[in-house]
């Protein structure tokens, strides 16, 4: 069947505009400040995660761990990127693994040998998770996934030791100045953003199928699991009508952060709501660093122009306060 000429033109125009939108979204160069800020936050979160594991490091990953390497491999079969399978299973080696991961995360946070350290952190983090999948939470998973895409990102193009050294080494005029990092293609940053949106969308889809979430009783259970308590929650917060409202709000926020976050005019309102949502969870529930792991990726949704404007505003304030007479 032949399509009429008008339909063909329309189809080709639609394809062209979709391809243009795709190219603008993934490849239009922009300031690397958001991805650099994310790299710093990411590095700090990996450091915090690793340090929190330190007291029980050998109990989880050592030669006499809770779950042996062979049991782990039989329970979770398949070829997996897991450096523990090639590292000798002595406590000395497993300890060395800890220090390599910690050192590499520190260098990643400061932006020293950024690309290399992003690869080392991803490999080590993935190995740690694969070695014992039964103690990882959603925050760990998000760090691992974001780490995968961070390896491809120009994360050291700003706010990094790498850049500082590059600027110092280069001749005047050859390299961009310290204050203005060269724009970069943001496709890897976009993938971390998409990953975050998919996280919210999947969480929303899981909840929307659940009677407990639809009838608003889900949070009743969550708030009465004693092992999850952190700080006391006021009694009115646990009233049935409030719990319904909270359950539905959680679903609405997850849905919005998945789909409406891409609408520019709604973005900052949704980011503020999302922050409030995660900070409430951080206050009330003991789920380790999950909330911070997720919140760190919000940085990537801040428009680089707005980030620069905010940075200039802060600098002006700081300069102003320095020059003010006592």
């Amino acid at each position: 069947m032949r399509l009429p000429l008008g339909a063909l033109t329309l189809k080709s125009a639609t394809l062209k505009s979709a391809s243009g939108a795709w190219n603008r979204f993934f490849f239009r160069k922009q300031s690397p400040i958001p991805i650099a800020l994310f790299r710093v936050a990411y590095g700090l979160l990996v450091i915090a995660t690793v340090l929190s594991l330190r007291p029980d490091w050998l109990a989880w990953y050592g030669g006499h761990a809770w779950i042996s390497l062979s049991t782990m491999q039989s329970v979770e079969p398949g070829t997996r990127l897991n450096l523990f399978t090639i590292v000798p299973q002595s406590d000395g080696w497993i300890d060395a693994f800890f220090w390599i991961l910690l050192g590499s995360a520190m260098m990643l946070a400061t932006g020293f040998l950024t690309r290399l350290n992003s690869v080392i952190v991803f490999l080590c983090l993935t190995s740690v998770h694969q070695r014992n999948l039964f103690i990882t939470h959603g925050g760990d998973t998000f760090l691992r996934l974001a780490g995968f895409f961070l390896m491809f990102a120009p994360a050291g193009a700003a706010l990094s030791m790498d850049r500082l050294l590059r600027v110092r080494r280069s001749k005047r005029g050859e390299e961009d100045t310290l204050n203005r990092p060269r724009p970069q293609r943001p496709w890897a940053q976009r993938m971390i953003q998409i990953q975050l949106a998919l996280l919210y969308f999947a969480a929303f889809c899981s909840k929307v199928k659940s009677p407990a979430w639809l009838n608003g009783t889900a949070l009743y259970y969550v708030y009465h699991v004693e092992s999850l308590h952190r700080f006391p929650v006021p009694a009115w917060f646990l009233q049935p009508e409030m719990l319904k409202l909270e359950s539905w709000s959680a679903m609405a926020i997850e849905f919005s952060l998945a789909l409406l976050i891409w609408v520019k005019d709604l973005r900052y309102i949704l980011l503020a709501l999302g922050m409030l949502f995660h900070l409430c969870l951080e206050y009330s529930l003991n789920v380790s660093l999950f909330e911070w792991d997720v919140l760190s990726a919000y940085i990537l949704f801040v428009d680089p122009t707005d980030a620069s404007r905010a940075w200039n505003w802060i600098r002006q304030r700081l300069d102003g306060s320095r020059t003010e007479p006592c």
Partner: protein, 187 residues
């Protein structure tokens, strides 16, 4: 006047190939991650999950985001172990219980909450012998080694009331595993 063109280090087609490769990478990962993690029953999702499974497992891209869903944990529960020694004495050992810890310890020991939850799930029975062996090692001395480890799950259901109040229900228990400790387990 002729202007000298800057020397190109690579053939002209390389950037195009690079962009095409990146586009392929992006399209593949967006599609694969969506199929993997979004719990929708769409026709192509199971096939896609099956196809990408080896790569996702290998690269660590597997993920699930069912936070407190579809059904949240509906009981207070913990796992403890009864350690029976060679001399016949007994001791009860428990995983760190978050509700009994201070704020800092709760943060640092949170992994034990997760681990203890995992051990209570029937699908994870294969983990229990390793856990019993570890508890035996933790609780043995050369003069009085552990002989038997009994892993017990204790739980109290959470039952919602119409007025929103909470009444703790009586605790129930269930033996997860009885394990006879062998001398080599303690080495």
């Amino acid at each position: 006047m002729k202007v000298a063109r800057p020397k190109r280090n690579h053939p002209i087609w390389i950037p195009k190939v690079k962009i095409a490769a990146i586009n392929l990478f992006l399209a593949f990962h967006i599609l694969a991650i969506t199929c993997w993690c979004v719990p929708l029953k769409l026709p192509l999702f199971p096939l896609c999950r099956k196809l990408v499974r080896p790569y996702f497992l290998w690269a660590g891209l597997f993920q699930s985001w069912d936070m407190f869903a579809p059904s949240p944990w509906a009981s207070n529960s913990y796992v403890e172990a009864v350690v029976i020694y060679k001399d016949g004495s007994r001791k009860t050992w428990s995983f760190p219980r978050m509700e009994q810890l201070g704020l800092t310890d709760r943060y640092l020991k949170e992994r034990y909450r997760k681990f203890s939850e995992v051990l209570q799930i029937e699908d994870n029975d294969l983990l229990l012998p390793d856990v019993a062996r570890h508890i035996a090692r933790l609780n043995s001395t050369p003069s009085n080694p552990a002989k038997t480890i009994i892993l017990i799950r204790r739980w109290s259901p959470i039952i919602p009331r119409a007025d929103g109040s909470y009444q703790p229900e009586p605790w129930d228990q269930h033996v997860l595993l009885g394990y006879g400790v062998r001398p080599e387990d303690l080495q």
